[in-house]
């Protein structure tokens, strides 16, 4: 059996005698005897480290690692600079807890402060929190932030990632907010519907830009419509796109959220990822989760603390606006290191490469008869029709070690959502085209 208990027989004897009891079992006297596990757990025996390593390698080997990926849809394969892994593997940083003892946790606190600053810089917003679980929960928390006594209705675009919509729905089922899904028209948010239905009950309008299909939304117009109805404007954004595309603040957003995974986190079968949240000054006290602030110590030296804590669950209890307690600190650290390594110029170049490759691929696909469905501008994802069933396309690509685009379902059955990042070399794109020509 494997064990991480250091106690020896000798230790146990000394400790029991110091407590004044005979055996460890004596300490469990308060447990109701009638439901004790008399025969122990029905589990296999433990194993040595060597055996477990082998076992886990065996399980991992049952998965297919695709060397080339043209699938995004909420999880993106980007290049992760080596320095990212090096930093987040520092034992002190990954084995620390939430920085409750500020004097001993200045490193963690400072790194979160730097992260908050970087999120404000890329989104253009005034304040950011220390992060939440992922992009979907960030969206749901953002919607909940906008609720007040007089406004209880959330408007969410149908062109938002379906899992994000689902998550917002679940949170609304919990807190009792009404949810209206704004239909899409030609792959973007239907402005006429929005104009018609936005009323005085509207707490917020939530859109994603670029949206689920990769298209840029008429984000400025949506912002003005929201403003006119006195509703908050929330934008979900892909952080890589902010290297070249207009920021939420420029579009007039009150809150910007998004999935931070593209900024230095591996695909990881869906998690851990990180949700970033930023907002205007006005909403600062409604922002959920941990926030780090700068202050001074008793000698006047600059230091960092968890601040605005009286908003949070451990103090406000049932009156708190959110129950969020942990953030995704280690993922936030990865994001900070990624953004430091890339710099503003590197982020811009990454965005340009993503967009350029997607547009190159779209042209090549069109040339072989897959027509692009997106009508306006798109960033690094786009939708095409398929000449043959999408599953068949994917099967063929899989034989060549390529994970193709994501086959859409429902009304869009038969269409494929493709994604390119800086990781997709021209050769790989050409290879896909070559293979598809033959099917």
């Amino acid at each position: 059996m494997g064990s991480f208990v250091p106690a020896t027989d000798h230790d146990r004897k000394e400790m029991l005698s110091a407590i004044g009891i005979e055996s460890i079992e004596d300490l469990f006297g308060q447990l109701p005897q009638e439901v004790l596990l008399k025969d122990g757990l029905n589990l296999p025996n433990g194993m040595s480290e060597m055996e477990v390593n082998k076992k886990m390698e065996g399980i991992a080997a049952k998965n297919t690692v695709f060397p080339v990926i043209f699938r995004g849809a909420g999880a993106y394969k980007h290049y992760i600079p080596s320095i990212v892994k090096s930093v987040i593997s520092k034992e002190t940083l990954y084995t620390a807890y939430t920085p409750y003892q500020a004097e001993m946790s200045q490193g963690i606190l400072q790194s979160i402060y730097e992260y908050q600053t970087m999120i404000c810089e890329i989104t253009g917003m005034d304040v950011a929190n220390a992060s939440v679980y992922d992009g979907a929960s960030a969206a749901a928390e953002a919607v909940a932030m906008c609720r007040d006594r007089k406004k209880n209705r959330a408007f969410v675009s149908a062109a938002v990632h379906p899992q994000v919509i689902e998550t917002i729905k679940t949170y609304c089922f919990g807190n009792g907010m009404e949810l209206t899904v704004i239909p899409e028209k030609d792959g973007i948010t239907d402005l006429d519907f929005l104009k018609e239905h936005l009323d005085s009950q509207a707490a917020c309008v939530y859109i994603q830009n670029p949206n689920y299909y990769g298209s840029l939304e008429p984000a400025e117009e949506i912002g003005s419509i929201a403003k006119e109805a006195n509703a908050r404007y929330i934008m979900g954004v892909n952080p890589i796109s902010l290297g070249i595309i207009k920021t939420p603040i420029e579009y007039g957003a009150d809150i910007a959220v998004g999935e931070g995974q593209p900024l230095g986190l591996p695909l990881s079968f869906g998690g851990p990822y990180i949700g970033f949240m930023a907002c205007t000054k006005e909403l600062i006290r409604k922002l959920p989760g941990r926030i780090v602030g700068e202050t001074v110590d008793s000698n006047g030296k600059t230091g960092y603390v968890l601040t605005l804590q009286a908003r949070e669950q451990h103090i406000r209890r049932e009156k708190a606006l959110s129950n969020v307690c942990s953030n995704q600190a280690l993922c936030a650290l990865a994001v900070s290191v990624y953004l430091s390594a890339m710099g503003a110029e590197g982020l811009k170049q990454t965005a340009i490469q993503c967009m350029s490759k997607a547009h190159y691929m779209a042209e090549q696909l069109e040339a072989i008869g897959y027509s692009v469905v997106n009508q306006g501008e798109f960033f690094h994802e786009f939708v095409t029709t398929s000449k043959i069933p999408a599953e068949q396309v994917m099967g063929k690509l899989e034989e060549h070690g390529i994970l193709g685009g994501y086959p859409l379902t429902g009304e869009r059955a038969g269409q494929i959502l493709w994604c390119c990042t800086e990781m997709n070399a021209k050769d790989d794109i050409d290879r896909v085209i070559g293979i598809l020509k033959e099917v």
């Binding site: 439901v35 790194s111 600062i284 603390v305």
Partner: protein, 474 residues
């Protein structure tokens, strides 16, 4: 010094190759105009910056970390190796099922192990943290009552010793909270509970052992009272490390539980996350579980439960954290799981026994995996508070216990040593705590000044809150 204050204008790393396709740019109206300040640094600058950052932090790897209710046990290194396997780390969450059978095996096996440990039927790994698990578990309860047309049940009963997340989570699902006072012995007051339950009871949220480190001996009666009133019982698994393999929440009458893989199952806390807060439930709630569940047919397949509450986040939760916990469970197995709990309880009782002649204990032992000291008398006699003792520990390079929690104990220090600490470590910390007590009696003033050997001294939190400065200004 912040990373923004390091480096030089124009300095950068060379990460990307040249673009090998014609450049496409957004139209003028969609272009970013706003400037963006990110660090302009070399890799060496970054490396040294974070080495410096790490010197000003403290993890389980640095030493004793007895944060009560947080279970800061040692994080085995093998967990990191298995989580880094390309076969887990490089997998896209939307790959076809036949290409992710290994990931699904991890989820299924972890579900089986943890259901056995908790006495539940099914488990979802979608929740990313304990509080997220609470939210999910309460939604299951809400969906259950609503599916039966039982719409009057809008109240959640929570003891006053509960974690702050419990009432906050209840509010997030639209429930109102009834806080009931604890009995003299720190457990649930049965009379108060009987008064509180009724036709409007949706459920009870309880952690057992409770936040005082005591196992509630009336647990079977408590869960029965709630069931008889038509409510469900929710188990907050924050303190499961005390009783794994000894007794199961399912057998105690709980219908739904959340676990904290980052506490009980040895995955690292990462400076505050990512964690993982799986939610297990009995059959009656399984049809409401969120996300996709792994089912075994010919191979593994994903299926949505019939009346799912939907998603609480994207995809399948913090998967790589589940890989780590699974690795740990494979190592411990049938015997190792209860062995861990027994030693967690042994260590806590040993510390308590060696300290109780100088520090007042909130409740007399034996305790479970943690114990609570009350420094109210010390404060009255010497002016030295729980905060002062905690800050004193910092000067010895020891992380303090949880301070001022649970709220019902004045001047509380709540210590959870965990099973992975050796007797030598405990003896050293006991000696330090005894010497701090001595200092409190003889020279209290020095403790008000503590800490003095940390990178900063006590920080002005009032200033931080009154004039929030939450980012660097360029």
């Amino acid at each position: 010094m912040l990373i923004f204050e390091k480096g030089q204008e124009g300095r950068m790393m060379t990460i990307l190759p040249e673009c090998d396709v014609p450049v496409s740019l957004p139209e003028e109206g969609s272009l970013r105009k706003k400037s963006m300040h990110l660090p302009q640094v070399s890799e060496n600058d970054i490396s040294r910056h974070y080495t410096e950052i790490a010197k000003k932090a403290y993890g389980v790897n640095d030493g004793f970390y007895p944060l009560g209710s947080c279970t800061m046990k040692y994080n085995p290194k093998i967990n990191e190796d298995t989580a880094a396997l390309p076969g887990f780390k490089q997998i896209h969450p939307l790959q076809p099922e036949h290409t992710v059978q290994g990931c699904m095996e991890v989820l299924k096996t972890a579900e089986q192990y943890l259901c056995e440990i908790t006495g539940m039927s099914r488990m979802t790994f979608q929740p990313a943290a304990g509080a997220h698990g609470e939210f999910t578990g309460l939604l299951l309860i809400k969906a259950y009552h609503e599916s039966r047309g039982d719409n009057k049940r809008t109240k959640i009963i929570v003891p006053d010793s509960a974690h702050g997340t419990n009432p906050a989570s209840a509010t997030m699902v639209g429930y109102s909270v009834i806080s009931i006072p604890s009995a003299e012995d720190g457990g649930v007051d049965l009379e108060e509970l009987k008064k509180a339950v009724g036709e409007d009871t949706a459920g009870l949220m309880l952690t057992n052992p409770n936040t005082l480190g005591l196992f509630d001996r009336n647990i079977l009666e408590i869960t029965k009272i709630v069931h008889e009133a038509g409510g469900l019982n929710y188990y907050d698994g924050a303190n499961l490390n005390a009783v794994m393999g000894m007794i199961r929440p399912g057998d105690m009458g709980f219908d739904v539980v959340h676990l904290n893989l980052h506490k009980t199952f040895s995955t690292p806390h990462g400076g505050g996350g990512p964690g993982s807060g799986p939610v297990g439930c009995k059959d009656l709630l399984a049809e409401f579980l969120p996300g996709s569940m792994v089912e075994e047919e010919e191979g593994y397949v994903f299926k949505h439960p019939a009346h799912t509450i939907g998603q609480v986040k994207s995809f399948y939760g913090n998967f790589l954290i589940v890989v780590r916990a699974m690795t740990y469970l494979f190592m411990l197995g049938k015997e190792g799981v209860p062995e861990a709990s027994k030693h967690a309880v042994l260590n806590a009782n040993y510390m308590m026994a060696q300290l109780k002649d100088v520090y007042d204990m909130a409740y007399q032992g034996p305790c479970m995996h943690e114990f609570v000291m009350s420094l109210a008398r010390l404060k009255k006699e010497t002016g030295v508070s729980a905060m002062d003792i905690a800050k004193g520990l910092l000067d010895y390079g020891i992380h303090p216990p949880t301070m001022y929690f649970p709220l019902i104990v004045p001047e509380a220090l709540m210590a959870e040593p965990t099973e992975t600490e050796s007797k030598e470590t405990l003896d050293k910390v006991i000696a330090v705590l005894r010497s701090l007590h001595e200092t409190a009696m003889t020279n209290p003033e020095t403790l008000h000044q503590a800490p003095i050997h940390t990178p900063v001294t006590r920080l002005d939190e009032v200033r931080a809150a009154r004039n929030p400065k939450l980012k660097h200004e360029f």
